[in-house]
Symmetry: C2
Subunit: 215 residues, 2 copies
């Protein structure tokens, strides 16, 4: 655990640093993520977060009335943004780059914390954090997969009837399944293999002799 | 909760039923599954299971030295067996029937209990129950998917290079993902859609004009 400046031999209470607005908020959210990764959901307290951010408890409660609110914001703020799928000229490369970004979100500090919080908290709180995963990871990534597949249809390297919810769930399904069942962390070479062995054959136009991008 | 015969107005302690061997074991395992579905992992006690099975605590401890051992056996005994994939003459029907059986295992009383136990228990115990899922559901179902795909290659309705671990994980991945993320219970029509929209296009031979079994 990080030792903060004021926990040495001094007897005086901590002197809050003079920070305001977004800078202070960022420090509080960072401290909340840090607490989640060290003491978990059950161990996290508003006092502990305030101490970690070198501020007072009132500064935390003023912004976040409860631990749930604070943690939800901290997790959201720490997740990478999934807002655009760059066109690399072929569906194979588009999918590869997009999968890497989804993998990075899953294994970001926030992504890992989010999944461990889901295991620890009660059902009502889990519902809320499940919502964070859906809103910030599941829906934006599905939307980007949809764009990439649509673009492939227009470009001609994807069959026209491939755009459907089930096809768009294949990559997220494999990412989740292998991470849960065999503890995979999805290095780039495994992502490339998934694209080449599963997605490219699945999406190839009818009548094609070979998968696009294949040998 | 079920009211057993001896919990009426009588003051005498329960008189154990005279059963031995497999019959008594079956009653104890059933009572353990019943307890899991009513009071969960945390609430389950050896005493409660003995009472539910209308036997004495000693009869339970003689066979299972700990709650973990008893619950692991109860979960295993309650899971449907996945030991054969019947040949229906085409990969589409083979996959459909196999997926239904995997879905039935997932949503069996034991399958549901197994997943909820994983959420409740500590990490070391979770490891053991995770092992039950792998040994009794994941590995046998992957082996059957492998057989079905191999058979399709020999029959000619599956491309020769389709047999690989990633392709075999697509169905289990989708089953898990949609059940977790959108609470799907995978009715037959959704399974049929998954086969027709994902698996048949993924497995079709190169150069085929249409998906096998398609219109």
């Amino acid at each position: 655990m990080a030792t903060s400046r004021w926990t040495g031999t001094e007897q005086a209470p901590p002197v809050p640093l003079r920070r305001r607005g977004p800078v202070l908020e960022r420090a509080i959210l960072d401290a909340a993520l840090e607490q989640l990764s060290t003491v978990g959901w059950s161990g996290l307290t508003m006092e502990g977060v305030a101490a970690g951010a070198q501020t007072g408890k009132a500064a935390v409660y003023r912004r976040w009335p409860s631990k749930e609110d604070l943690v939800a914001d901290a997790l959201e703020a720490g997740l990478p943004t999934l807002d655009e799928a760059v066109d690399h000229g072929c569906v194979r490369e588009d999918l590869f780059q997009l999968c890497r970004r989804v993998r990075d979100a899953m294994f970001s500090r926030s992504g890992v914390a989010l999944r461990s919080v889901l295991y620890e908290c009660d059902a009502a709180t889990a519902e809320r954090f499940h919502g964070v995963i859906v809103d910030r990871v599941v829906e934006p990534s599905t939307q980007l997969f949809r764009e990439v597949v649509h673009r492939g249809v227009q470009r001609g390297d994807v069959r026209a009837d491939a755009v459907c919810e089930l096809v768009l769930d294949v990559v997220p399904g494999l990412l989740m399944y292998r991470s849960k069942v065999c503890g995979s962390e999805w290095p780039d070479k495994d992502i490339a293999e998934m694209i080449d062995r599963v997605m490219v054959p699945l999406l190839r136009p009818y009548g094609s002799r070979q998968a696009p991008g294949g040998p």
